[in-house]
Symmetry: C2
Amino acid sequence: MNQISLSGLPLGAPLYQEVKRKIMESLRNGEWKPGEIVPSEKRLGERFGVSIGTVRKAVDELAAENILIRHQGRGTFVASHTHDRYVFGFFHIVGQDGHKEYPKVELQAFASIKADSDMAQRLGIRAGSKLFRLTNQLSIAGKPLIVDDIHLPERNFPHLTADVVRTRPGTLYQLYQDNFAIAVLRTEERLRACLADERLASLLDVEVGAPLLHIVRLALTFNDLAVELRHSYVNTTHHEYFAEEHQ
Amino acid sequence: MNQISLSGLPLGAPLYQEVKRKIMESLRNGEWKPGEIVPSEKRLGERFGVSIGTVRKAVDELAAENILIRHQGRGTFVASHTHDRYVFGFFHIVGQDGHKEYPKVELQAFASIKADSDMAQRLGIRAGSKLFRLTNQLSIAGKPLIVDDIHLPERNFPHLTADVVRTRPGTLYQLYQDNFAIAVLRTEERLRACLADERLASLLDVEVGAPLLHIVRLALTFNDLAVELRHSYVNTTHHEYFAEEHQ
DNA sequence: CAGTGGTCTAGACCACATT
DNA sequence: ATGTGGTCTAGACCACTGT
């Protein structure tokens, strides 16, 4: 059994891992905010007392995880959620020709509910905790394509209202970032096939019993803390979910 | 417009990219075969006339793409398809508890057909070209879970027979690698929901009209050449498709 | 023990972006 | 002109593996 230090890293872990951890700590603390520039590699090296090469290795990994973004000649920046970034990184539905087009979003319902045991387990909270539940209808060319049922622990999103959601300028993940200082860093998705019930059939303009792609997405922030649980129901008649495996 | 050299790399490309290209060329040529060790970083540096640091950067990328595998103290090896590796890298179906178990495979049909325009386009061959078509039934605990319809261009798999497929020791990708020197390097998957027709209902032991997850997988080798086109139909009643997005 | 990959350093030079 | 990240080098030392 390996010993584990207070930082969560094994004792005698590589220096660059320690540097990476410290950078993430500063990001989590908000020392450098989304969209802002971080100190140059030279300055980071001085701050942590390591060589530039070691800083580079730490930043390499953070850049590979899309937490930092490098721009040659300009500097290194904290990744920020934008519409384009969401479409590129999190939105996996493409047209039959492989073309990606982001749908128009319309909020259908906003409510406060209590977490059942499944939701609570996935979100890592107690069953019965209060959640916001949002239902979005996403359409392309006026035709409904996706229904999203989104669940957010209320304690992480104080004073959220339907109006705030409806009048947000960008994606929901931008709202989490800008209004609640929550950065979605990665997602886990579980996919199944299901049949449209009456509600989904009505929202998606399909027959009851039509086949739908059901995606359960868990969005996570620092330390793998769950931010959002989302059930998406997709009409895959003219669209599909795309995934690539670099082996 | 950037100039492109004969190697496909932009003129003035980084040295390590050139080294990476040369290593991949040797892999494609079979100079180093799957499972074999490649020369040490020191020797590669001497061979290509670059420093070890530059070799490391090239090997770093190849290791990140799972084309090479490093073992500290032992050396660097050419990735080889094994059962475990297939399950870890290409098989995305998990039980409801997240547990991955690889099913028992049974060949149901083996035929020679002609590519229709859709298959031909996806495989990058001419419509009407001859294909092998294999149908596999995959079961867990005696219960059918997946049906695979697999299409292989005949010219890449000379003398393939049902018997060879049935008596192979490992996965199909191992067969491609060991008997035909074809290395599957990455896959693209497109997912939709569909309804079971009579054939699928019978093979999967579900009702006609039951919802199924339909996965179209394209397997690719060097230079993004298509190797295999696979249609998988999954009964997601007790299993699901898992995908992770590192943002 | 010798050989391998993994880490870390220090410095030179390049390509790029901004001032 | 200055500062940034990107590349490349050379070498030291460490951790691990097999003989």
